[in-house]
Symmetry: C2
Subunit: 307 residues, 2 copies
């Protein structure tokens, strides 16, 4: 599976995902040269200091020139403008992909800018931590995680297959998915849970002022897990919600409906309703462990850096 | 700190908490003999098979007879009836404590049954995993976690100090707290987050039927963390919500209010509101890490069993 998949890869945006991609591409020797570009001076300096990318460019045009694969790894809301900037400098026959958590809005924002002689094959690796920035990346982030490839109308089959090979080489499993379906599935598995976690942490933060930090001190009882989710990058998540509005609001509507039913069960003392509900949700956990997407072990299934 | 604190300890209910207490008591040599009782035959057989407790009793009266400390470690809703059963068999001068996640309701249910010559000192160790039953316990569960001791009117100072010594010997930090305040703090840090996680997993489970298991397959993106919380013991949690009704419903009311404000920000495209909110919640995470109740490391701060 290893071996050169693309001669030159350009990473646009050097946060958690792009930096992890770089280390994974290097680990498996999947490209001859990886260039990188980040919007801010600070990020580019950090990247150079830690050896992230073979070459960090101050000019986005230099980064994408001659690249066989260009990876858009910026917040979803910035992708359209980036596509507009790089379009004149793309190599004919190159593939442009992205790693955004929303697909329909990214396709609508990016596709119109790209020239006809370039392949656009959107993607979304389902992996992350609560950390962000160029120093947060590590080669194992995508190991045994899923990367969804979401082709647009007319995506070239050879270009799709090649991008698939890259992600397999990076360590991920790959699945092809349709854009709107992707956005609905992710609204359930990721976007709604994140908004809910952000909300609960916000409520607790209000209360913390009343309870003199006790919320933080005694967070181990469940709340702590929410704070980890709610510590993710604010810009990234703002853009996710603004760009997957309909599916997220639909799932939140269903969530509120269920929550009201459980609140009523608590208020009326309907223990059977609560017990049945909690038994059903326990079963779905077993499904996830059986599907290999988490372990029963106390390390929470998260990847460790090699010793 | 180690050394005998109580000659005889009786554990009533042999689930995750009691079994972890047994291993921790044995690890530090805090008692001469630990007896155990569980309601079902199966649990008692399992306890005997794995060497849990020095003596497992088929009769609850035998378990508490001559015990210097009796620990009620059953679901909150069962504690009143257990207190009624054991009351005639308690040794004069003994201390009765509990490990329930709710304190006011437990005090109201248990205290009236206990004779005057027994000390009642309620407690609540803030530790757990999503696993339950006698085989899920391990000695390190309480290491560096908090145990809240919640004395009732007239709790004897010597009895409180002794129970405190036990929990310190088990590896926990100890804080004294007032019952109603305990129930409010726990509603924020534990009860509301659990109900919300249960709700989200229930919504996803409904949708799973539509999306052909994709919710499970792609759970790594945030939802997975909810399923772990929502895999906790259904009986225990049913009883928690029924017995901390007011505080839980109050926090859920505030949660819904905030959630509606965020939904409106999504609907109206108010990115600044979202960004500011998500930045604030990120800060509380740092507070938790600084307070030593989680780590930045990818093991999620959960204890590992010794190699």
């Amino acid at each position: 599976m290893n071996g050169i998949v693309y001669e030159r890869v350009a990473l646009i945006g050097l946060g958690l995902i792009a930096s992890s991609m770089f280390w994974a591409i290097r680990r498996a020797g999947l490209a001859t040269e990886v260039t990188g570009y980040a919007r801010t001076h600070e990020t580019r300096d950090t990247a150079r200091r830690i050896g992230l990318c073979d070459r960090v460019c101050d000019d986005i045009a230099d980064a994408v020139r001659d690249a066989d694969l260009v990876v858009l790894a910026a917040p979803v809301g910035a992708m359209g403008e980036i596509a507009r900037q790089i379009a004149p400098h793309l190599k004919p026959g190159a593939t442009v992909t992205d790693v955004g958590s929303v697909k329909r809005a990214v396709i609508d924002a990016v596709a119109p800018h790209l020239p006809d002689n370039v392949h656009f094959v959107p993607g979304h690796p389902l992996a992350g931590t609560e950390h962000s920035g160029p120093e947060s990346g590590f080669a194992e982030l995508f190991d045994d995680r899923w990367c969804l490839i979401v082709p647009v109308d007319g995506s070239d089959e050879t270009a799709i297959a090649r991008l698939r090979d890259l992600w397999l080489g990076i360590g991920a499993h790959v699945e092809i998915m349709e854009p709107d379906h992707h956005d609905l599935v992710l609204a359930v598995t990721s976007h709604a849970p994140h908004l809910i976690a952000y909300t609960m942490v916000g409520v607790a933060d209000d209360l913390r002022r009343v309870t003199d930090s006790e919320v933080i001190k005694y967070s181990a009882a469940g709340f702590r897990d929410f704070t980890r989710i709610a510590a993710s990058d604010p810009t990234m998540w703002r853009d996710v919600f603004l760009n997957n509005k309909d599916a997220t609001l639909e799932i939140l509507g269903r969530f509120t409906e269920e929550l009201f039913a459980l609140q009523r069960a608590i208020r009326t003392g309907d223990g059977d309703h609560l017990y049945d509900y909690f038994t059903r949700t326990r079963a779905i956990r077993r499904g996830i462990i059986e599907a290999g997407q988490d372990t029963d072990a106390p390390d929470f299934g998260r990847k460790k850096k090699p010793k």
